[in-house]
Symmetry: C2
Subunit: 712 residues, 2 copies
């Protein structure tokens, strides 16, 4: 493994996102999502199912105080299972001593505080910070003396804590708590929540491990793996990295932990055990280093793979890295929608078999696309390679953004690629597919997940090593790169995802730094003009061929000239420019962004005879609002259509500037026949112009049909 | 309503089916299905889930005897609900006093005895008849003194009988019992079971009705409606017709009975009532005469519509008849697969919305196609019209026959139009779609339903009124038509479904009779040569135009010549020939049977850009066994392909003669690209010959892909 290429995300404190596209999204998170979320987790949203999240922390805290006031240690009641989601019998009068909501309800807070942390970095807000501090105080009051912190068991009975790792999400709660605590600490410097998270993690470090008497289990819903790595990186405490690695090493070992645990639970309850564990659903069917195909719950899977990539990097674990890469190729070449969505089936919110990517019953959960972004960034940290960056960008600009309405007020959990509203309403097989975004969800994972990703998007755009700065995504921003004692300031201007031109202005005092630029797969021709010191380099990457010309001296440069450090290199889709930078230096990238008409591998049954239209990283779709009902009657004018005939037009009609497309097409003209089945006749068609809008912007004009794939 | 056209099925005693195609099917039923079924309902099939059916009757009978021996009337235990399907805790030792199986398990016997009855008519079998008599004795012993006969409540507790008409199927058990008893009585003349069925029906006639104190409910699962009509027709007892009509009249009236019943049950149990009734699922959302769209459980729906058609005919109820016709058009023009299958969704085994006819997740239950045949025959009895006959034939030759393997040993419950075995195994959304036929089902409705239909198929081929005999289906048979005091003997020879030529030889002594022949929709040109007395008529029906020539006198005849009864007429797809028939008379039909390439109404989204290939009533499909894997890569060579280029070849390779097709087609050649999504290129295809086999014969050569619809 080439440790040289390992990188870390640039500290968010060093980045200010100024990009109009992303600034708008971040402002929606700050002004809409975070405040709404706070109301939601305090059960103050009219018409929405209560979260019970903060209430549970308060109940647990009160129980603790009462015990302490009596001078006794806290002793929890004896545990009784009341359902994966416990609801009060009388919603108007929830029981004062009971836990309500999903077993993982604590994470509603953790995701919120994480988004708050990132948001405060971008936009200081003393009132929000005070609210957050108060919430943290409530949360910390619920923590047991020994460090344990999951209100589900604290309230319901600690005698059964850690006896159902498979389903009861305690380690998932730990993971989110750590993520939230680290983000808030990094933003504010306040360590109250970080210390609480460390205490819970310390407790887990004692409870789980290879030693005698330690539990050999691992999370049923992964996230702790990557969270513990982050905790290690911020605290320097190696035990957290060790615990993460322990979880990964244990996963999939035989006898299968979840089965053993299930047998023990049955024995404890004095009931016969009919094993229900589906190990593959939890990615626990074989040791992680031996896995090659993605199975089971999609979000869990990509969270696991993210943790694996982290550990592979930090531990230089080549087998783990190889498994990550095999899984990556499987997911992105055999199980991913053209929108970057993953998890094709709602049954278990899971991956289906290879190439099974139905459009109308798609699950493609927003959180799974977010997890794919997490994983992609970690793969890039491990090995900068365009295939990761391309998918990260694709998932981000399409499925992740589609998860939120353009006004930030409603959300998709499921992201179909084809919608017929009638089917969503009348066909129970598509009950999971919503034809309009929803205000909030009982299982509120997607909206807060969008919030924490969008408010930290800068840390996905850039990663760095000691001497290199990688630009994976292009967004207007101001950032600082420390190289040894020296500081390089960069100002990036971009118009993504609508234009491929990027300007990078550099400021510094002879700062030696390698700058790396991702040349996206969607651009077959990129021209780069680089002014460094007195020299002007004209660089071109065309069909993955690099040419470099020293325009200042009319000298052709070869890659890797003998005896000197290479100045310009092109490797795995990244353009590397080594330079010693100073004020006035500037790099201009001009990446061609043609409209592209894509077809799927014919193994994807649902897409045979269809095409998708994209431009840059943006995938387009037909909407009823532009093209009328019965979108399935429309087709692209292929094979005669040339991408050049497709017109691109910037419009603000949906509230912010975006490029829409005018595509020559045809529409089937219905015949007169009243027979359901009639003798074949060549189709009667009329010429039409199809109007296509970015997929992320669909369903912002009321309910209607939508389709990404169009017949050819 | 034109009472003239009303007809009844010809008594099975008057028909002997000699047709090689149908005789084979009937022999399978006689030699495979009926014996297997008997073993199954006595729980003697190794590896199959026990039916518990005969065991339940024995348990109930023993309970009755024990009570009687104590001189007391039978008093059932107090009812406790033990699930819609009750299974013993220890399967090796079922409790001696408990009911097991589905609430409707009694019907396993009733369907069996019905098939036995029909089979005995075609093929006397003293040993089988003795077994049947013994079974009947066991069943009759279970009947209560008051006539009630449903072991579910007899064993579980009569205090709750008729308190859950919606779900507990007592009137469904009544209906099947009546159907079975009538068939056995008509076959053997033995009336022991008929009397038991009448006593149960009598009990219901007292229990249900418009009078004060009588129950105003109706069946949750329809069938009693048509069964009671049959009981009325065989006994002449008008009260049975009245009860059938009462059930129809009550259905859908407000307040909704099932909701009232549900409230009462909740009140009885002292629980709060959260209504769960979906009236449309039970076709009880509005009065039946006002219904226009088919909703809910497909089998229940077509059983209901069958009863409606019966009552419309017998009571000359025009509004009821109009509703039947509206529903018919809805089902066959908006909700039917090209194979005659209905009920597109497995969610509730139900109709989906109009034009929602997915091929790969199709439900298309065998029983629903059988019910469609029942209904079609009754529509024909009401009004002979080709549209009913065409659909009856279509459902019969395709979905009904596909329900059973060619060796009669395994069955499909679900009849998809497209199968990828991997999806059936790995995609839980298609768990209902089996890639191979199953031995038997816990809910064993389809195999016995196939058995009772196939063994009585003659009564679907012919119906009669006093002076007319209609031939709806063409099958080799010998039958007798009584016209007043005279007898007309007919010998029919046919080679359906492979040839459109039919020969009818007549024997009699100047018997005046109108013969009616269905000219199928699949034949645009039919020539008929009719020798009647000394006269030879040459008749042609081409594109629904009738021409008649008196070949014996070279005289052109007009339809309906003034002053004389019309000799030849063509009406609603039926050719009517009036004649006075004698020995030596003969009618030869020659209906052209070209290969037809069909497309669906473009409103059927799943079939846009696809075609189905049919010949006569037979729908063809591609199978992996003939065409390799990845059938979705194949397409028909359209628009250039002419149906004449498709070659028909008779083969016996699947065990009996059938026509297979050789169709010029193309196959997509996969490209080298490893990208899941790649720039559009016109498709590379190679010429192939597609081999297509009849849909009913699919999956008789092991597991593999199958597809009815082929890309064009």
């Amino acid at each position: 493994m080439d440790r040289q290429e390992f990188s870390n995300p640039v500290d968010l404190k060093q980045i200010q996102v100024t990009d109009s596209f992303w600034h708008r999204e971040q402002e929606l998170v700050r002004t809409e999502v975070i405040p709404y979320q706070w109301e939601a987790l305090n059960d103050r949203v009219e018409g929405a199912a209560p979260s019970y999240c903060m209430r549970n922390f308060k109940v647990a805290g009160r129980m603790m105080r009462e015990k302490k006031s009596k001078g006794a240690s806290y002793v929890a009641p004896s545990y009784t299972f009341r359902g994966f989601e416990a609801l009060p019998e009388d919603p108007a009068h929830p029981d004062e001593d009971k836990f309500y909501g999903f077993v993982f309800q604590d994470t509603d807070f953790s995701k919120w505080i994480e988004a708050v942390g990132y948001s405060l970095l971008q936009h200081p807000d003393p009132a929000l910070e005070q609210t957050a501090d108060e919430a943290i105080a409530i949360v910390c009051e619920a923590q047991l003396e020994n460090g344990y912190l999951d209100t589900y068991y604290i309230i319901n009975g600690m005698d059964r804590a850690f006896t159902n790792l498979r389903d009861h999400h305690e380690l998932y709660c730990l993971g989110h708590l750590v993520e939230g605590a680290v983000a808030y600490y990094q933003a504010t410097g306040k360590d109250k929540l970080l210390k609480a998270a460390m205490r819970f993690a310390d407790y887990c470090c004692e409870y789980f491990g290879p030693g005698e008497g330690q539990c050999k289990g691992y999370p049923g819903h992964e996230i702790a793996e990557m969270a513990l790595v982050r905790l290690y990186q911020v605290t320097g405490e190696e035990k957290y990295l060790k615990l993460s690695r322990f979880f990964l090493d244990q996963r999939g070992q035989q006898p299968f932990y979840f089965e053993e645990e299930e047998k023990e639970r049955a024995a404890h309850d004095g009931k016969p055990c009919h094993l229900t564990t589906n190990n593959a659903y939890h990615q626990a069917h074989k040791p992680v280093r031996e896995q090659s195909e993605a199975f089971g719950h999609a979000v869990r899977a990509v969270y696991l793979y993210s943790g694996m990539a982290d550990v592979a990097r930090l531990c230089q674990d080549e087998d783990m890295a190889a498994a990550c890469d095999r899984l990556w190729d499987n997911v992105t070449r055999e199980k991913m929608y053209v929108t970057g969505g993953i998890g094709a089936t709602h049954m278990g919110e899971a991956f289906s078999f290879n190439y099974d990517l139905p459009n109308d019953t798609a699950y493609s959960e927003t959180c799974a696309a977010i997890g794919l972004v997490f994983w992609a960034r970690r793969m890039l940290q491990l090995k900068p390679c365009r295939k990761y960056g391309d998918v990260m960008e694709l998932a981000l600009y399409n499925t992740v953004l589609a998860g939120m309405a353009l006004d930030g007020k409603s959300f998709f959990y499921v992201n179909p690629l084809e919608v017929l509203p009638q089917a969503c309403h009348e066909d129970a097989r598509k009950a999971h597919v919503k034809s309009v975004r929803q205000k909030w969800f009982g299982c509120a994972c997607c909206p807060p997940n969008i919030a924490r990703l969008l408010s930290s998007v800068g840390s996905y755009a850039y990663t760095e090593s000691a001497d290199t700065l990688w630009m994976h995504l292009y967004m207007g921003s101001v950032l600082t790169k420390q190289v040894g004692e020296k500081t390089l300031d960069l100002k990036v201007e971009a118009l993504m995802p609508w234009e491929g031109r990027v300007k990078v202005q550099l400021h510094g005092e002879h700062v030696p730094c390698r700058l790396a630029f991702r040349i996206p797969g969607w651009s077959s021709k990129a021209k780069v003009s680089c002014r460094c010191g007195g020299r002007l380099l004209q660089i071109a990457v065309e069909l993955n061929e690099l040419t470099v010309r020293n325009a200042s001296e009319e000298e052709h440069l070869e890659q890797g000239m003998p005896g000197q450090r290479e100045t310009v290199a092109y490797r795995e889709g990244y353009l590397y420019i080594d330079g010693i930078w100073q004020d006035g230096d500037e790099i201009l990238l001009d990446m061609e962004m043609p409209v592209r008409i894509l077809t799927a591998d014919p193994k994807v049954r649902e897409d045979v005879g269809k095409a998708a239209v994209t431009r840059g990283p943006v995938v387009y779709c037909l909407e009823e609002a532009d093209n009328g009902k019965d979108l399935h009657l429309c087709r692209l004018n292929l094979p005669s259509l040339k991408p050049e005939e497709i017109q691109t037009e910037m419009t603000e009609e949906l509230g912010h500037p975006m490029a829409v497309l005018q595509v020559p097409g045809k529409r089937l003209v219905p015949t007169e026949s009243r027979e359901l089945y009639r003798p074949y006749q060549p189709q009667q068609e009329r010429e039409i112009t199809l109007r296509m809008v970015p997929y992320y912007a669909w369903n912002n004009r009321g309910e209607g049909e939508m389709s990404v794939w169009v017949r050819t």
